[in-house]
């Protein structure tokens, strides 16, 4: 799986299978602070992910 974390501007690649919520738990990211996007589609926390997925993790927080 390939992911890009917007807030820290990090690219990561690793083996993963599970839901969006599982992924966020692994990355220690609070779900309320991000949107997870796959090929332009916003995903809910229960969405199943596969190793072939490329995801963007967008930060909800902005401004001051």
């Amino acid at each position: 799986m390939k992911i890009y974390i917007e807030r820290s501007k990090e690219h990561k690649e690793f083996e993963f299978k599970g839901t969006v919520q599982d992924l966020l738990n692994n990355l220690k990211i609070i779900s309320e602070t991000v949107l997870v996007v796959r090929q332009g589609t916003i995903l809910t926390e229960d969405e199943q992910l596969t190793n072939e997925d490329t995801l963007k993790i967008l930060s909800v927080v902005s401004g001051g």
Binding site: I30, E32, G63
Partner: protein
């Protein structure tokens, strides 16, 4: 997860909605806030305080879709590697929708940017920014019926907690969807007060509103940033926490007498002629301090 309105694939939870029904839900929610709290009508000229971030651009988009007449007022604090990006997004958005936009800057009134003031090491960024921003918003919005800001449920629930924790009774009592009316101030309204920050980013993406991720470089120094993280953690574990804070606050406020929630006696600043609780307003005092240090 399925959409609770059509059984289609949901893109967001709490409530679970598909893209089309989510947009519909947001429009309904904002319309209800405007109507329930009497924020403004379709006859009113609405000045939207815009930063170019997702909240203020989504606000303009929503109000325009609901048929309100809006114009933008942009305040440039002078924060390098931050404000110029959102300014670009803002100008592109306003040009595309053919909406009027006025820009005013900190530099215009003090001769210096916020960055320059901060380089002296004598100021707290959020205090300077908040004071000068409120001053400029009021000064340049007199021809309008209301100023609408993009404050969302996250902002408001954080502010309730900040004011409670710091014992800021006066400020706490002034919170809510609309400010009290006064001949010295244009009334401020918050149509997005019941929409979370996460919902606003979702809306912005669905509407193709381009906003990059830019966090104010001074934000992490604030108590607000700490409370923001704390509240987001609670909201993830206990959905509805932020809404409960605001609803409880509004219920308590309703029970207070008018005198309790009225603003203090307002007069006129001897230097600039704008509204002030003292002989010299806070903005003029700050500008004078900045000039003394930098000129």
């Amino acid at each position: 997860m399925k959409c609770t309105r059509c059984e289609g694939k949901a893109i967001i939870s709490n409530p679970s909605l598909c893209a089309n029904h989510f947009e519909e839900y947001i429009l309904e929610k904002v319309k209800k806030t405007i109507t329930d709290f009497g924020l403004f009508s379709k006859k009113d000229r609405v000045c939207v305080a815009v930063s170019g971030g997702k909240d203020s651009l989504a606000l303009i988009d929503i109000l325009t879709r609901l048929g309100y007449s809006v114009e933008g007022l942009f305040i440039d604090e002078g924060i390098a590697n931050y404000r110029e990006f959102s300014s670009l997004d803002l100008h592109t958005f306003m040009d595309k929708h053919n909406l009027p936009l006025r820009t005013v800057s900190f530099k215009e009134i003090s001769g210096h940017t916020l960055d320059e003031a901060m380089n002296t090491g004598k100021f707290h960024a959020c205090t300077v920014c908040g004071t000068i921003r409120r001053y400029l918003l009021n000064k340049y919005s007199k021809e309008y019926d209301v100023i609408a800001t993009g404050h969302n449920l996250d902002d408001e629930s954080q502010t309730v907690l900040i004011n409670l924790a710091r014992g800021n009774t006066d400020l706490l009592l002034r919170q809510g969807p609309k400010s009290t009316t006064s001949k010295y101030f244009t009334q401020k309204v918050k149509p997005l007060i019941f929409v979370t920050e996460k919902q606003l980013l979702t809306y912005a993406i669905l509407r193709g509103i381009k906003t990059g991720f830019e966090e104010c470089p001074y934000a992490n120094t604030s108590y607000r940033a700490h409370l923001r993280d704390l509240l987001n953690e609670e909201e993830s574990k206990h959905p509805g926490t932020k809404l409960n804070i605001i609803n409880t606050y509004l219920e308590l406020k309703q029970g207070l007498s008018k005198e309790d929630s009225d603003e203090k006696q307002i007069g006129i600043c001897e230097l600039c002629g704008e509204a002030s609780q003292e002989h010299i307003c806070k903005a003029c005092k700050l500008v004078s301090e900045v000039k003394q240090l930098l000129d």
